[in-house]
Structures are given as structure tokens and as C-alpha cells.
């Protein structure tokens, strides 16, 4: 039995044997990949949505992440959690997309000096241009505070936005976040705190304007 919250976090109970499904996929039984897609589809989609800010790109990333996971299943270390590995793929795809958007925007602004340093750590609203600013349409409830927070999160750089998403939207523990991000737990804690302070500053700035 698989239950999914509206935030995209997954609660699983019952007899689904993930390890066995992965082993079976490695032996070429692609059908056994379906339960894994079912189990993680919302979590991958929502993570992508919360990082890149729009539904179409999030759906593409959801699809691509599973294609990559399946084709690289041979390299997956079965002693590690599959979900964290998959979310790491999602996060990397999000970073790639944000980079591509930034280069595209730099070119459209006729400013080739921008967007060549390979960093994805710029705020979403700078990387995507006005037409791709995270839209409030993706929110189910659109009260003023939630729209304000969503918009402020869009102005954070990718590193801070991702860590907030993993903790507050995806409800991962610090250890799980460390696994997804490939950083020590102590770094997770300090980065998360910086991100929260940055978000608070953004909201304060909004109030002042």
C-alpha cells in the first residue's frame, strides 16, 4: 500500500519489496520497474516542481529521472536507499535545466558574458526570466502568505531553495538530505539555517516594499 501526501512525500506500508524489484529490474524484468515508478512518481515530480517552479518542466524531469535511473540501475549501490539516489538524479536534472535556462536567457539578452561559469546557484527569477518565474498556479491554496513565501523561495539561489524544499516540503531528515545532496550532515544543518535566514530576509524585504 502506498500513500502520498499533497506535498509529494511518500508513506509506504505493506508488502512491496523494493529491493527485490530492483534486483529483478537488473535481471532485465522491466515490468518490475513499474511499482518503483508508482511509488516515487509524486515525490520526484513534486521535488522537481518545487525546485524548477513549473509543471511542464517538472513532468519532463520526472520522466527523465526514471529513464536515467533505469539505465543506470547497474551502478546503483543496493546498500543505499533507492529513494535518495533517485532524488539525487532529480536534483541534478533540475540543476542542468536551470543552467540551460540561464544560458538561454543570457543569449536572449545579448550578453554572452553571462551564464558561462557553470554555476547553478543563481536565484530562480534571474535564471528563468519573467515568463518562467515560479507561478502561484502550482499552489493548491493561494492565500497571500503562501504566495509570498513561494515567490520569495523563487528568489533564493538553487542551493538554498533545494535544501528548504527537501526539508520543509519533502520532509526528509537531515541524514536523508545529506544522502541526496552528497554533503555531511553538519553542512546540511548550517546550509538549511542560512537558507531559512535568507528566506526570512526576502520576506522582510517584501513587507518593506
Amino acid at each position: 500500500m502506498i500513500g502520498v501526501t499533497m506535498n509529494g512525500t511518500v508513506a509506504i506500508s505493506g508488502d512491496f519489496d523494493e529491493q527485490r524489484a530492483i534486483e529483478s529490474c537488473r535481471e532485465g524484468n522491466k515490468e518490475m520497474f513499474r511499482p518503483l515508478v508508482e511509488k516515487y512518481r509524486q515525490q520526484t515530480f513534486f521535488l522537481a516542481l518545487q525546485i524548477v517552479g513549473n509543471r511542464e518542466d517538472a513532468l519532463d524531469i520526472f520522466q527523465e529521472s526514471f529513464i536515467r535511473a533505469y539505465s543506470n540501475l547497474g551502478q546503483f549501490d543496493t546498500t543505499r536507499p533507492f529513494g535518495a539516489w533517485l532524488l539525487r538524479i532529480v536534483r541534478n536534472l533540475c540543476i542542468d535545466l536551470l543552467r540551460r535556462r540561464r544560458v538561454r536567457r543570457a543569449v536572449s539578452l545579448d550578453d554572452p558574458g553571462r551564464g558561462q561559469d557553470g554555476e547553478a546557484g543563481r536565484p530562480l527569477h534571474e535564471t528563468v526570466g519573467d515568463e518562467r518565474t515560479p507561478s502561484a498556479d502550482v499552489l493548491l491554496e493561494r492565500n497571500e502568505l503562501k504566495i509570498q513565501i513561494w515567490s520569495a523561495m523563487g528568489r533564493l539561489d538553487e542551493k538554498h531553495r533545494t535544501i528548504l524544499v527537501l526539508r520543509d516540503f519533502q520532509d526528509l531528515s537531515y541524514l536523508e538530505m545529506a544522502e541526496v545532496l552528497g554533503i555531511p550532515k553538519g553542512t546540511v544543518m548550517s546550509r538549511l539555517h542560512q537558507a531559512r535566514r535568507r528566506l526570512r530576509e526576502e520576506l522582510t524585504r517584501d513587507d518593506e516594499e
Binding site: 513532468l59 526514471f66 533505469y70 544560458v103 543569449v107 493548491l140 516540503f169 546550509r191 538549511l192
Partner: protein
């Protein structure tokens, strides 16, 4: 001895640990060891500023955690999930197309060379096809070399 910040009763070293190491967030999320949690609680007792900050972070976290996002429709799920399972077949399809095209070309060339055509015709066809082949390969090599240096290769046109 570390200098004491007179404004809120916290020493600078404590402040550094709270913020740079993120102990305050760790406390909020219940992720600290017992010793770390006690460390934070003692500082919270002493500093009103810190208590205010913790309360602000807590209400911000609650508002963030309460945000809900719209799900894709079943049709959108199905469409994208189909793409996952057809990608392997598509890749295999391309491999088969390439292999069998090469086989067909080799077979055609063999048939042509072993046919009773005039030697001059065979030489002309061979010359033309090898010239075209060389041009194609040289364009491919140029493209491949340029790709590595192309700073706009990530641009979606």
C-alpha cells in the same frame, strides 16, 4: 575569554555556533544530540533575541510545510510514464536501424562489385561513393571537434 555581546547576553562564540553551524535550525527540527539541544536551551533561556528568532523560524517553517501543490492529471501521468517504458525500445530501435543499414550497404556494395558491370562504371561509382563518404566523415569530425569548444552548446535553439 570570548567577548560578551551586551545586547542579548550571548557570547560571540555561542552566536557563531547557533548561526554558522545552524544549531538553531537543528533544534527546531529536533535533529540535535542531547548535549547540543541542552546547549541551545541554555542560550535560549538567556537571550530574548534568540527566542524571538526561533519563534519566527518556527512560524515560517509551519507556513512552508503547510503549502500544498497541485498534482498532474492522470492523463499527464500516463503520458509521461509511457515515455519511461518506451525509451528502451526506442534506443534499441536506433541500434537496429544503424546495424542493419550498415549490413545493407555492405551487401549492396558486394553485389555491385561482384556483378558483371563494366570496370570503368565500377571505378566511377566507387570513386563517387568514397568521395561522398570522406566528405561526410570530415564534416562529422569537424562537428565533433567544435562541440567541445562551443560555449553555446547548451543553448536550446
Amino acid at each position: 575569554m570570548t567577548p560578551r555581546d551586551k545586547t542579548d547576553g550571548m557570547e560571540q562564540e555561542d552566536r557563531r555556533r547557533m548561526h554558522d553551524e545552524g544549531l538553531l535550525s537543528g533544534y527546531l527540527d529536533g535533529e540535535l544530540t542531547q548535549a547540543e539541544a541542552q546547549f541551545v536551551e541554555v542560550r535560549l533561556e538567556a537571550s530574548e533575541e534568540l527566542r524571538r528568532e526561533l519563534a519566527e523560524l518556527k512560524s515560517l517553517r509551519e507556513a512552508t510545510m503547510d503549502m500544498k501543490f497541485a498534482e498532474p492529471t492522470e492523463e499527464q501521468w500516463d503520458e509521461h510514464a509511457r515515455g519511461i517504458f518506451s525509451s528502451g525500445a526506442r534506443g534499441l530501435g536506433w541500434v537496429l536501424v544503424v546495424i542493419w543499414t550498415a549490413c545493407l550497404l555492405i551487401y549492396g556494395a558486394w553485389q555491385f562489385l561482384s556483378s558483371g558491370e563494366d570496370l570503368l562504371v565500377k571505378l566511377m561509382v566507387f570513386g563517387l561513393s568514397s568521395g561522398l563518404g570522406l566528405l561526410f566523415v570530415s564534416v562529422l569530425v569537424d562537428r565533433f571537434k567544435a562541440y567541445g569548444k562551443d560555449k553555446y552548446r547548451r543553448v536550446i535553439r
